[in-house]
């Protein structure tokens, strides 16, 4: 069976800087993949390429057996690839409920107008990330970093993902919040959701991932189980070297 | 042919001067100051007031015009722009409103009719059968001197380099101890002064008119949009592109069509190459 998502030799250049360099890796359906690497390694850029937020310089992106390089961002989301942002990007002038509503929106404008929203379903998603009635009505400006990350998650879950790209889900969170999010992710995994998780917090990453890909300067460094990759000399060097 | 080259060169010099003050603000603050045309208008009217109403010496009129431009630009920055700094759209809207308010003020004081400005210097110079007024010649030569001085200032002086640093990398400049707000303020002051000087020249070249801020503003906008940001040289090139295009249209087609092509150029360049002809990082 072909993997859920496969990157083949993807490259992204910004002028003279090569942020991602002939990178290839894949993730199987139902798998949870950790993506690690020092600052500036190109992890976020990889996500931007998968989502078409940046245009590929070269390479192929294959999702469920078909090439998707030509699909625009929203089509990729509709196909089930959804991402969170490293720096949360909520819609600031809308309450949490409306933020979730955007994620659940139908594709068709006619339906957006004709069909009433479903506040119960929205609330259910809010609850699934640990929000209560109170947070549901709050504005992003009033939320803590932990809650903002939860909101990112809620919005992406609302979009009905098959493959979730998580960029630094744990950054800026307390230990308790990390625990909650870990639990949530583990639970979603049982339902068959596939992940690629970027994190600098390796200890929090460990229980979540089946396999790890390490990159540095835009290229693949090492690939294997969590312990194998961390034991890899090249990986240790890359982390110490920065 | 000679006629087109001479007229084109003269007009382009003036346009370059008009555009450069506007470009500076854009490259340092990444905001479009739609009240820039007001500095041009103020320059013209203040000079007119001093020289043709109060009969003061021309030099005094010039100094007063520049002072008014600087003061008004500083006030715009301190009272409007600083409050709205993180919202470029709000800056744009509020400076546009300000421009219309100032236009109404000018109408209140001077009436809606246009006024004629006396030339800075009388006389005509004939070359190759083309008559060039000393006035426009002086204006162009002065433009070149001012632009040259500006280049020297930006590249060779401490303050000028700080301005360049902020325009290239605001955060980086901040880290190295430059206060970007102070630099912005200085840039606005310089821009106001340049606008006022350009205004005196422009008014002697055309006329004083309460809506005279619109045309130069559009030229300035065109230069930024077409040329891309930051580069004084880029501005010069585009100023010449527009200056020559207008001269050619005026002498070969019809004078009324001159603005049409500038407008079309803006639209086409923005749609076809959103980054401008000479590149621009972000939109």
């Amino acid at each position: 069976m072909s993997p859920l998502l496969e990157l083949r030799n993807i490259t992204k250049r910004f002028g003279g800087l090569t942020a991602v360099n002939e990178l290839s890796y894949h993730v199987e359906e139902g798998e949870s993949l950790g993506l690690i690497g020092p600052n500036g390694a190109g992890k976020t850029t990889t996500f931007n390429l998968i989502m078409d937020e940046f245009q590929l310089t070269s390479g192929q992106i294959i999702y469920r057996g078909t090439n998707i390089e030509k699909l625009p961002t929203h089509k990729r989301v509709q196909e089930g690839i959804v991402r969170t942002y490293q720096v949360p990007r909520p819609f600031h002038e809308m309450p949490v409920s409306d933020n979730i509503r955007i994620g659940m929106m139908p594709e068709n404008i006619g339906k957006m107008i004709a069909e009433a929203p479903d506040p119960d379903a929205e609330m259910a998603i809010a609850r699934s990330v640990g929000f209560g009635e109170r947070e549901f009505a709050m504005y992003p400006g009033e939320l803590s970093m932990g809650d903002l990350r939860r909101l990112e998650l809620a919005r992406t879950i609302a979009a009905g993902p098959k493959l979730l790209l998580l960029d630094e889900v744990f950054a800026g969170l307390t230990v308790a919040e990390i625990g909650q999010i870990t639990e949530l992710l583990l639970e979603k995994r049982k339902d068959g959701l596939t992940y690629i998780i970027v994190s600098h917090d390796l200890r929090s990453l460990a229980p979540l991932v089946d396999r790890v890909v390490a990159m540095s300067f835009g290229a693949l460094l090492s690939e294997g189980s969590f312990d194998e990759v961390l034991a890899d000399e090249k990986v240790q060097e890359a982390y110490l070297g920065t | 042919m000679t006629h087109i080259i001479i007229q084109g060169l003269l007009l382009s010099g003036l346009y370059a001067l008009i555009a450069v003050g506007f470009t500076m603000i854009f490259s340092v603050g990444r905001v479009l100051n739609l009240a820039y045309g007001v500095y041009i208008m103020l320059g013209g009217y203040i000079y007119f007031q001093c020289v043709q109403v109060w009969h003061l010496p021309k030099a005094v009129g010039f100094v007063m015009a520049v002072a008014a431009g600087v003061a008004f630009a500083v006030a715009t920055y301190q009272l409007l722009v600083r409050r709205l700094e993180n919202n470029p759209v709000a800056v744009e809207i509020s400076t546009l409103i300000l421009a219309v308010v100032m236009q109404a003020l000018i109408v209140m004081i001077y009436g809606a009719a246009s006024r004629t400005m006396w030339p800075l210097v009388n006389g005509v110079w004939r070359i190759e059968g083309v008559a060039v007024t000393y006035n426009i010649l002086i204006a162009t030569v002065a433009s070149w001197f001012i632009l040259g001085g500006l280049m020297w200032f930006v590249h060779k002086t401490h303050l000028g380099r700080a301005i360049m640093a902020v325009s290239m990398d605001r955060k980086g400049a901040m880290v190295s101890g430059i206060d970007p707000r102070r630099i912005s303020l200085i840039t606005w002051a310089i821009s106001g002064g340049l606008g006022a000087i350009a205004g005196v020249f422009f008014a002697t070249y055309t006329q004083l008119d309460p809506s005279m801020w619109v045309g130069p503003l559009i030229i300035a906008v065109a230069v930024v949009v077409i040329g891309g940001i930051g580069s004084i040289v880029g501005s010069l090139i585009v100023a010449h592109l527009i200056g020559f295009m207008e001269t050619i249209t005026t002498s070969l087609l019809a004078a009324e069509l001159r603005g049409v092509f500038t407008m079309l150029l803006i639209i086409i360049v923005l749609i076809v190459t959103p980054k401008g002809l000479f590149g621009r990082e972000e939109l």
């Binding site: 819609f91 | 759209v89 308010v101």
Partner: protein, 318 residues
């Protein structure tokens, strides 16, 4: 929908507004009615601006371009071809929607400041073209006059413009209460994040542009057949743009009631100032007021009133 108490409160508000518009002529002179007619048109234009710019954040500095297409199309059809109004007005609206597509094309690639500039360029271009190209058709600088009017007299025109304004406002209000309204507002906050929530922002923007152009088209055609004349400087003009923009912003962009409030406030300010300070001074005064309000509270009067009301209610409770 009616069972929702919040909704019922709003509907009562709309009904009261409708009744007030209906009864107003009982207490007003025909002079005041004429002011109201003008306010209604400005309100329509401001709402048209708002659905595009207030909602999606794509600031249009060229709205007179759209209004002008509508007005000129219908004016030229009736003037040269004696097309009946019931035919020329829909054609004018359709032409405006085609013009709206022209507006839309740059919005596919450019955002923010640059978009505003292109629309401004569209307006200036149109101003110059109407004067230069075929003045025998467009009427050149002088424009066209003696155009057929829809109705005569202040009262019928008042009712017509009020009815159109009311219907447009109510429909737009219903529209922005749907999820579409939420999606359009989200575009103004972070367009890329809307895309990565799986929405086709191109389609959403096109829809908003078409609605905006439609409203501008209806307003523009009715306006020209109320005035009975048209000239380039009256339409493709910074002052006209300024009036629309300020009406929308002063009242509060991205609300329906805001642009209406702004339009009425402006028009009446203008009229009540007339005896004291005639002429352009009025522009100076209302421009200054608008500028101060805008700099203090970019969300406009609507927001200020809401906050005052909120403070008042909290005061009562305490």
């Amino acid at each position: 929908m009616l069972s929702d108490p919040g909704m019922r409160k709003y509907l009562v508000g709309w009904a009261l507004f409708g009744v007030a518009l209906l009864l107003f002529p009982q207490v007003a002179t025909s002079g005041t009615l004429r002011i109201f007619i003008f306010a209604n048109f400005i309100a329509i234009f401001a709402m048209s601006w708002d659905i595009l710019s207030g909602r999606t954040g794509y600031i249009s500095f060229g709205h007179p371009f759209l209004i002008g297409i509508a007005a000129y199309t219908s004016a030229m059809l009736t003037y040269h071809l004696q097309t009946p109004l019931y035919f020329s007005i829909p054609l004018g609206v359709i032409a405006t929607m085609v013009g709206g597509t022209l507006f839309f094309l740059p919005a596919l690639r450019i955002r923010g400041t640059y978009f505003a500039l292109v629309t401004l360029a569209f307006m200036e271009l149109m101003y110059q073209l109407t004067q230069v190209m075929r003045p025998d058709i467009t009427g050149g600088t002088r424009g066209l006059s003696g155009l057929p009017t829809l109705l005569t007299g202040a009262l019928p025109n008042y009712y017509l413009s009020s009815a159109v304004m009311f219907v447009i406002a109510f429909c737009l209000w219903l529209l922005i209460r749907t999820r579409l309204g939420t999606a359009l507002s989200a575009i103004s906050m972070d367009e890329d994040a809307v895309k990565s929530s799986g929405l086709d922002t191109t389609k959403l923007k096109l829809f908003a542009f078409m609605v905006s152009a439609f409203v501008a088209g209806v307003g523009g055609t009715l306006y020209v057949h109320y005035l009975g004349s048209i000239a380039p400087r009256a339409i493709f003009d910074i002052n006209f743009l300024f009036t629309i923009l300020i009406a929308a912003l002063l009242g509060g962009a991205s609300t329906i009631i805001g642009p209406i409030m702004g339009a009425f406030f402006l028009t009446f300010l203008l009229e009540y100032l007339r005896p004291y300070i005639p002429g352009t001074e009025r522009y100076f005064i209302y421009g200054s007021i608008a500028l101060i309000v805008y700099v203090l509270e970019p969300k406009g009067l609507h927001h200020i009133i809401q906050r005052l009301y909120g403070a008042l209610m909290r005061g009562k409770q305490a």
